[in-house]
Amino acid sequence: MEVRQGLPMPAPVSESLPPAGPRRRGNLGAAVGAGTYTTIYGSAPSQASYGEQVTIDVQIRNKAAYPIYIAVTGRYNGVDFTFSPEYANVEAGAYGPFSASFSMPNKDITVDIWSWYWTGSEWYQDDHTSVTIALKVLTPEFSGFGISDYSKL
């Protein structure tokens, strides 16, 4: 396994339990070291209509040689959303499933997803990916348009 210089190592699950998931937002500018110990795989709809429930399913692969705690956070157009579970104990080489859903806003969105690993003292941002979901516009259609009555007020 490649270990980059200067990056905190993930803590083995036996050493410490995270008190909670990551509280920080993902940092789009922090691409260095992305995906060293985790890799994001997932699926999201390419388009959704306004108000439709959008579900993001991701699988985070543990690239470390031992079990580690992994968490996932997400954001679309500046709106943070949470994945479930808050974090997971993922075996070496295994994939941890995470899921999130939100209501599609009335415009196209770019969804950013970050994976994190627990160092024993903090959550460290590791991999990042993004996906665009287009607003599905339903074709306007009228039926039976007619004057039902007219009267003098």
Binding site: S49, Y50, S143, G144, F145, G146, I147, S148, S151, K152
Partner: protein
């Protein structure tokens, strides 16, 4: 004692006053009256605000000369299935000259191709009260 006859007559008058004319019945109004034109339709698609336009005019050789009209914004909800709507516009008739057989039209302006409907010869407009040939026809002792 209750006057059944008076109640009935009053009730009928009220009902007639508030009753809309169904297409293609004739409606007679005075210049300056307001005509309420009601429409019904079904819609499916994305949420949007559209413009209902109701008009009174004269059609000549297929061309509609719109003399009086009124518009109103209507909010349509997003739906994948057809949803029924009703709406109305109140059209002032002060710009219309007294005459018979005016035509009416209604449409959603942004989707006129799907919605334009026309009904001919349904509005008669009366002018100000007029007297003609007023004269003394005779005089006698009673």
């Amino acid at each position: 004692m209750r006057n059944l006859y008076a109640d009935t007559v009053e009730g009928i008058i009220r009902e007639v006053e508030g009753l809309g004319v169904a297409p293609s019945g004739k409606l007679t109004v005075m210049v300056g009256d307001v005509v309420r034109m009601s429409v019904a339709f079904k819609y499916r698609g994305s949420a949007m605000t559209v413009t209902l336009r109701g008009s009174i005019g004269k059609r000549t050789l297929g061309v509609f000369d719109e003399i009086a009209y009124k518009t109103k914004s209507i909010s349509l909800s997003q739906s994948a299935d057809f949803v029924s709507y009703t709406a109305y516009v109140d059209i002032p008739t002060s710009a219309i000259s007294p005459a018979t057989n005016y035509d009416i039209e209604a449409k959603i302006s942004e989707y006129a191709g799907q919605t334009l409907v026309k009904i001919d010869d349904v509005i008669d407009v009366l002018g100000a009260p007029e007297f003609q040939n007023f004269q003394i026809t005779d005089y006698s002792k009673v």
